[in-house]
């Protein structure tokens, strides 16, 4: 699949905020369909800003962000660091939000939502309200909402950063199995070396102030990744390479 036309092309993308802060400078990046690309970097390196530019939520100050897919609602899914659910709505109503905004309803739509809820392991919680769920379960709802429109591009902005280790590892595996089934292209922002290597097919290491991509490493670990992957020498070696790249990035 690596020979396909890129689904996302960034050319010289830069972002300068009104305060004069250079968040991003000269970002060149091609992402191919079906890739799982992690953007790894220290906090403040502009990786979240980059994600927002790709989503069309923020305009770049310079450069180009080309998407092979159209920007029609639902083609892009977004998961924030917080679950970002509507507390007044049930799990089902939260997952239905993209359709509700598109004014689509009906049995078929509802079935899609229930499927998405089941896919993230929340069967039985369809009518629960967010405050009745744990942090990890809320994040699952958020992922179900992002997946329900069957997006070509899924953007995740440090979605597991606020979760405990156990929940985080579990959600890593669940995300991988969802990716294995539907193969959306994923852009995953993280500041964890181990997470990025475990999940991705490719890791882009970023440096801070201004944010730029300083290393672009393919992760050639066996698919599908499993718990045992974390114990393999190849995984350890890859983590070391990525850590070294990150250390260089932070020294720069």
């Amino acid at each position: 699949m690596a020979s396909d036309e890129p689904i996302l092309e960034l050319r010289g993308v830069a972002k300068r905020f009104a305060a004069g802060l250079d968040a991003l400078a000269g970002i060149d990046l091609d992402v191919r369909p079906g890739e799982f690309l992690s953007l790894l970097g220290p906090s403040g390196c502009g990786k979240s800003t980059l994600l927002r530019i790709v989503a069309g939520l923020t305009a770049p100050s310079a450069g180009e962000c080309r998407l092979a897919t159209d920007r029609a609602p639902g083609r892009i899914g977004f998961v924030f660091q917080d679950p970002t659910l509507m507390p007044w709505s049930t799990v089902t109503a939260n997952v239905l939000l993209p359709f509700r905004i598109a004014r689509q309803r009906g049995v078929e739509i509802r079935r899609k939502a229930l499927d998405a809820i089941r896919a993230v392991g929340l069967a039985g919680f369809e009518d629960a309200y967010p405050h009745q769920l744990s942090g990890g379960m809320r994040m699952r709802v958020s992922i179900a909402r992002a997946l329900v429109t069957d997006p070509e591009l899924l953007l995740l902005d440090e979605p597991f950063a606020a979760l405990d280790e156990i929940t985080r590892l579990q959600l890593n595996d669940d995300l991988l199995s969802l990716w294995g089934r539907h193969r959306p292209t994923i852009l995953f922002v993280t500041h964890s070396v181990f997470e990025s290597v475990y999940l991705s097919t490719r890791v882009a290491v970023m440096s801070a102030r201004p944010g730029r991509i300083v290393a672009d490493l393919a992760v050639d670990l066996e698919q599908p990744r499993e718990r045992s992957t974390r114990m393999s020498p190849a995984y350890g070696a890859m983590c070391e390479r990525v850590s070294a790249a990150l250390a260089t990035a932070m020294a720069a």
Partner: protein
């Protein structure tokens, strides 16, 4: 954690002890009834004058509830207008504040001159006192929508109307209801103050006028009985609004969910 029954029993015990002390003090000191009536005198007056006082209470209550409804509807609409345009908000908000801080007793005579229907004049006075907490709370609420949710709505191509209806309005609901609870008490106060200024409203005399009248006639037990009815009404209004608020928010808002969590 305190026992649930204690939450009712403890304040009742304090009230009963206070009434007993009051009764004893009046009997022991021999204060004349036109200075300070004993609770038993007030209870008797409440029994004797009750029916006619209740009729007056109904008049006051009608003004109060109409003013509260007007405050909720017009206050909500004003807040909606403020949230739609920052320019509208900064242009008009100071005037809402001016209306709020001007003592109602000072402008009530003018309103009573300008508005010829007694009911409407009193309603206007009560409304002026009651609308501000709803406007200011709801405005804050409408502007408090989660920034990431706003981004998500944009990503999915939501229209401004959808953002307003599906995101800003639900976010503002707890703020609006908190404002409504404050306004409930203020509407009653506004209605009473307006009645005080207006004096008799012809055939329809509210509770405030009955208080004045009882004062002139040194019918102090009746004055206290009317006061008691006013306080009780205020408490009931608050409890009803609090109940409505809890029902509406019970599934999701911290203020209403804290107690039924396991």
């Amino acid at each position: 954690m305190t026992q649930p029954w204690l939450r009712v029993a403890a304040p009742l015990a304090v009230g009963a002890a206070f009434l007993a002390l009051w009764e004893a003090a009046v009997w022991l000191s021999g204060v004349p009834v036109y200075i300070l009536p004993a609770p038993s005198d007030i209870a008797q007056s409440l029994w004797v004058d009750g029916p006619s006082l209740l009729g007056s209470l109904l008049v006051t209550l009608r003004i109060t509830l109409a003013a509260l409804a007007a405050a909720a509807i017009i206050g909500g609409l004003i807040a909606l207008g403020f949230s739609l345009s920052r320019l509208v908000e900064i242009s008009f908000f100071p005037y809402a504040v001016i209306l709020q801080v001007t003592p109602i007793v000072a402008i009530a005579p003018l309103i009573i001159i300008w508005v010829h229907t007694a009911f409407l004049a009193l309603l206007t006075c009560a409304w002026i006192v009651a609308f501000f907490p709803i406007v200011s709370n709801t405005t804050v609420g409408l502007n408090s929508a989660d920034r990431n949710l706003l981004a998500l709505f944009r990503l999915y191509g939501a229209s401004p109307g959808q953002v307003l209806w599906h995101l800003r309005v639900p976010t503002a609901l707890p703020y609006f209801l908190a404002g409504l609870r404050i306004s409930g008490g203020l509407a009653l106060i506004g209605a009473v103050v307006a009645e005080f200024v207006a004096g008799t409203g012809g055939a329809e005399t509210g509770l405030a006028y009955r208080i004045l009248e009882a004062g002139y006639r040194l019918a102090i037990p009746r004055l206290f009985a009317a006061l008691f009815l006013l306080s009780a009404t205020g408490i009931v209004i608050y409890l009803v609004l609090d109940f409505i608020s809890r029902r509406l928010l019970r599934h999701w808002h911290e203020s209403a969910t804290a107690e039924d969590e396991e």
